[in-house]
Amino acid sequence: MKEKAVLEMKNIHKSFPGVRALQAVDFTLCEGEVHALMGENGAGKSTLIKVLTGVYSKDEGEIYLKGHEKAVAIRSPQDAQNLGISTVYQEITLCPNLSVAENMFIGRTKGMGVNWKSMNKMADEILTSLDIPAKSTQQLASCSIAVQQMVAIARAVDMDCKVLILDEPTSSLDEQEVAKLFKLMRDLKSRGVGIVFVKHFLDQVYEICDKITVLRDGQLVGEYEIENLPRVQLVSKMLGKDFDDTSEIKDDSLTYKGEDASEKIFEAESLRSNAGIKPFDFYIKKGEVNGFTGLLGSGRSESVRAIFGADRVVGGTVKKNGKEVKIKKPIDAMKQGIAYLPEDRKRDGIVGDLSVRENIVLALQVLQGFFKPFSKKAQYEFADEYIKLLDIKTASADTPIKSLSGGNQQKVILARWLLTHPEYLILDEPTRGIDIGTKVEIQKLVLKLASEGMSVTFISSETDEMLRTCSRLIVMRDRKVVGEISGDDMNQTKIMSTIAGGGRDDAE
């Protein structure tokens, strides 16, 4: 074991049925460093962390910890905790029915009993010192998601840990809260805690981390000091493509203009839904890619949901090719050739226990009616065609979708809608939480579909992505459409100023 290292994982192997998730991976964490673990979805980051925290058992390999002569055996999350390894997961792993204080202390206090008074007092002290707006006696379910996340971090921090693992901890935090978290991380770093940081946002990684370990397809690519690894190289290492390759993708995307679009295929007038957005007008031309942009909660999703009939429409008209159509429910929209890829993949998108094939055929089956099922053979043909077309990484068409990685699940849902051959495709945050490689693929696909005559609405929190794919942006603020940007105006500054409050005058 190296000097100063608090954790060393050597030659870790782990296989799942049909997938070799980790092959001969080494990982070293030193005292007082923030170490980013990077890789695309399915690269093995989560598996490596779950091996370290005792959720999965490893097939092969050793884990060494500072202060232990021999390799340690971690068989359960409890073992990991006792060894000083704390974890904050991407999803909240606390109990919503317990109080904040209990969530911070359960499973790690000594003795038989629970001393509520001292527990609450200690919890309040920690909460105040970390500046977390929660009370110790409050039921956890009554806190916002961000606060719950911070409570999880507070728990991990208080555990006097030597190794702290943060698995996508900032997904639900806003900027201020992220800053607070980073301050906390620096504080811990100075106390000699080793921090493993898993995150897709490069900005955050470069802001806080000292070292980067890159994984790809379950194998170790390498460990790098952050100053020796420019971003472009990091991305190319993660993707396993040369630098030139990635730049080519960008050039390719930039060439799209979408000027030739002429006829308005869908048109909406003063459309209003029960989700609380102001009435808005909207149109999309054939073969056009447009986008809704705005801050989180500005009503982007609500707008497209109104178009698709996913929320109850309470006013306004929708015209298709100039003729008025009634869209009350999603099935009405589907019959008019609209497809909608929802924002929340897990809740509204996938049917976890069904196979990839069944998930792909679902929408088309609904359109055709359940009394006219497709033959098995036809289903396999559909599924295989799209698995190949979208390069979906799955063991077979019969694998349950929930065992796929996030990016591949998204592709399956995309395949489901493409199979219905829609005239108008709405993609609501199709690239959230998936790796860069798949992001680029999806962006390219969108442009290809548009060039074939499909109209696409694309929503993303990353303005870069919107600029690359869309030819017209509809800007929203406070649940209202406040502007439209197209042509030469399409740049970061213009978007920012419109979002911030230039208003309609500027945009037109």
Partner: protein, 353 residues
């Protein structure tokens, strides 16, 4: 409470008030309020009979076994499980104890040990199957129920009253409650209020379990496991052991409850405690324990059992003595409770947004 929430308007202030209370306590308050409302209703409309301390104590006496069994049920339900074998276990305990006392020459101590042993055996087997082999608790305890009912008949097919002298004396022993009696009008004699021993045992168990769930780590783990199994695991709780323990305790309590029930009826019969598991589930739910797990309170369960008892008495006093009237009233009551619970929880969630 966060700073942000404080600044928001009046409607949220109402929500803020409720926020201070956990789901468990909120449901407990509802249960207790409804119980007292119902009892008051009975006193006003159905006469003085409900005012007498003794009549309340009699109701407790009838419910002693059910209180203990329902407490065990609540425990399992709090961890997100269910145990429908408890009625069968109670039946089996009564029959085994009856046979032991009258036909095998046993005494009070051996019969008690038998009751405990049966409970423990069921708990160990069912707990192992549920927790370590990860089989659905409903299926496991369904099998347990059939097994217990079958065994009861095998041990002795016909109902019979226990003649054992020492036991008869033991079971009819009552404890006087000082100051709760009344002076009979006609004779002017003081008639003390009496309560069965079983009731005291039941109340003791309620208190012990309440403390266990509130102030021990193991007790809090029950809530954590019921709240979110996966999270509990990540928080370092031994989920399997917790589930195992909940089933063991539940079955042991069913054994004890069976003995108390046996002391009350004084007979062994395959018909004993028919449907008791359902009464136990109903009491738990009325008491504010949620089938989805993670929410519940033993004091609530006690009031749940008392509510059931009161309903039966009200139905009886109203002259609707047939069993189905009780069933229908209990059903209506359960519906009302579940609706109230879901409305309150939903409103609370809404107030948060």
């Amino acid at each position: 409470m966060s700073e942000k929430k404080k600044t928001s308007g009046a409607p949220q202030m109402l929500g803020a008030k409720k926020q201070g209370m956990t789901d468990t306590n909120l449901l407990l308050v509802i249960t207790i309020v409804v119980f007292f409302a119902m009892y008051l209703f009975a006193i006003v409309f159905l006469g003085e009979g409900f005012l007498k301390t003794q009549s309340f104590l009699d109701m407790l006496g009838t419910s002693g076994g059910l209180i203990i069994t329902a407490c065990g049920m609540s425990l399992v339900m709090i961890t997100g499980g269910i145990d429908i074998s408890v009625g069968g276990v109670v039946g089996l305990v009564t029959m085994c104890c009856a046979v032991n006392l009258d036909q095998s020459g046993g005494n009070i101590v051996t019969s008690m040990l038998i009751a405990l042993g049966i409970g423990l055996a069921f708990g160990l087997v069912q707990g192992y199957l549920v927790a370590y082999l990860d089989i659905q608790p409903f299926i496991v305890t369904l099998a347990g129920m059939f097994f217990a009912r079958g065994m009861t008949t095998i041990i002795h097919a016909n109902p019979f009253n226990v003649q054992h002298e020492a036991f008869t004396e033991f079971r009819t022993t009552t404890v006087e409650i000082p100051g709760a009696g009344y002076v009979a009008e006609k004779t002017g004699k003081y008639i003390p209020a009496q309560v069965e021993v079983g009731v005291l045992v039941a109340l003791l168990i309620v208190i012990i379990l309440f403390c266990f769930l509130r102030w021990t780590k193991t007790g809090r783990n029950f809530y954590a496991v019921g709240g979110n199994k996966q999270s509990a695991l990540m928080l370092g709780i031994n989920v399997k052991r917790t589930k195992f323990l909940s089933h063991v305790i539940c079955s042991v309590l069913a054994g004890i409850g069976g003995y108390i029930y046996f002391m009350h009826v004084g007979a062994g019969s395959p018909q004993n405690a028919t449907g008791m598991e359902m009464d136990a589930i109903a009491s738990s739910i009325i008491g504010g324990t949620m089938l989805s797990g993670g929410v519940g309170n033993i004091i609530g369960t006690l009031f749940g059992v008392l509510s059931l008892g009161t309903i039966q008495k009200i139905v009886g006093s109203a002259g609707l003595d047939d069993a189905w009237w009780t069933g229908i009233t209990v059903a209506a009551m359960l519906c009302i409770f579940l609706v109230i619970q879901s409305i309150v929880i939903a409103r609370k969630k809404k107030a948060l947004k």
